[in-house]
Amino acid sequence: MMRDAPISDRVVVYERPQALADIHTHYCPGCTHGISHRLVAEAIDELGLNDRAIIVASVGCSVFSYNYFDIDACEAAHGRAPAMATGLKRVSPDRLVFTYQGDGDLASIGTAEIIHAAARGEPVTAVFVNNAIYGMTGGQMAPTSLPGQKTTSSPFGRSTDIAGFPIRMSEVLAELDGSAYIVRRSLHNVKEIRRAKKAIKTAFKVQMAGLGFSMVELLSTCPTNWGMSASDALTWVADTMVPYYPLGDYRVIDAVKDL
């Protein structure tokens, strides 16, 4: 057994990706932000882009992601990451520029920026963590909160009369001609996590090939503000979120298939 082998003979089967900094994160136990960080970092490592990647962190629980990735990083104002990424990318076209945004950031306060980045076909990538709630500020309703979902600002459950309907961002952005690669994945089990990783890698390749705008939406958990255990939260994603936010490829232009 591996465990009994002398250290020199041991084979590394799992280790921290280079693109991930060797520090503790502040994420709550069971939060899938940690998983998506790892997937992004693995993709960067595998594409060998560590020295050329730039993350535009956003305002939300991932606000400190600039600390967690061992790559160049900046921090945008709430919702403005796609605009900041645009600025960066226009003057550094051979760099990998991506945003890492929550649903409040991307689908509420920053809707204009994300839509126009996609419409311009800006060759940047958005990693969009959709956990159907505002995590950072303590569990308010998000644009992606489900009808009936109780949050601290929809205490009686999200009423579509008062708060309208959740936004399916992948579907919205897929309508725009500047979008090259728009997919939705989930982080609730191993199979989906593997698929998510592949999608992130593809999105980065799309960007580096200059094909246009790319976004990977990741259905994610917030056990803390959902008031659930980590495993119940994963079940909730599978049973409640996935039916509302179907997983799949919403826009994949032909050139992507040739990559």
């Binding site: 502040h26 709550c28 950072m136 803390t224």
Partner: protein
Amino acid sequence: MQHELIFSGFGGQGVMFAGQLLAYAAMDTGYHVTWIPSYGPEMRGGTAHCTVVISDKPIGSPVVRRPQIAIVFNKPSFDKYEPLVRPGGLLVINSSLVDDPVTRERLDVLRIPATQMAEQVGTPRLTNVVLLGALLAERPILPVNALCDALDAHIPAHRRNLLPQNIEAVRRGAAYAGDFETMGIP
């Protein structure tokens, strides 16, 4: 008369509610009172603390650098507040989680295995009220009864069924401190 207290512990140990409960009891007894929390991301898993000032006059500063009384629920809080309590002040220590020696002189110290006692009553979540009971037996800032009345009046509706347990926890905390030969009871 003015009392300045700091409650400190892990987020989730009921530190904030302990301070609020004392504040409610002080208000109901007719005193001026302020309660301020530490707030924000540091509460996620880290330590949380709140400051309570009770006075018979309108209160100026709600912030205090050196409290007269610190109630420490865990070791990081002990490390932070042991040096800060004012000379002649009181340090109430949850000895279930803190066994460090107190190095300061001219400090009254009350060690109480509050978490164990809370578990005996039913759940470690009662640690905060055990400590409050002990505090008021040691320093009669307010009558212990005022605390029980405040519990009755302000316990969140979904915890109402736990009221008898809470009162029992206060009682045991008070009895423990009352039995304890400590210095400096006024």
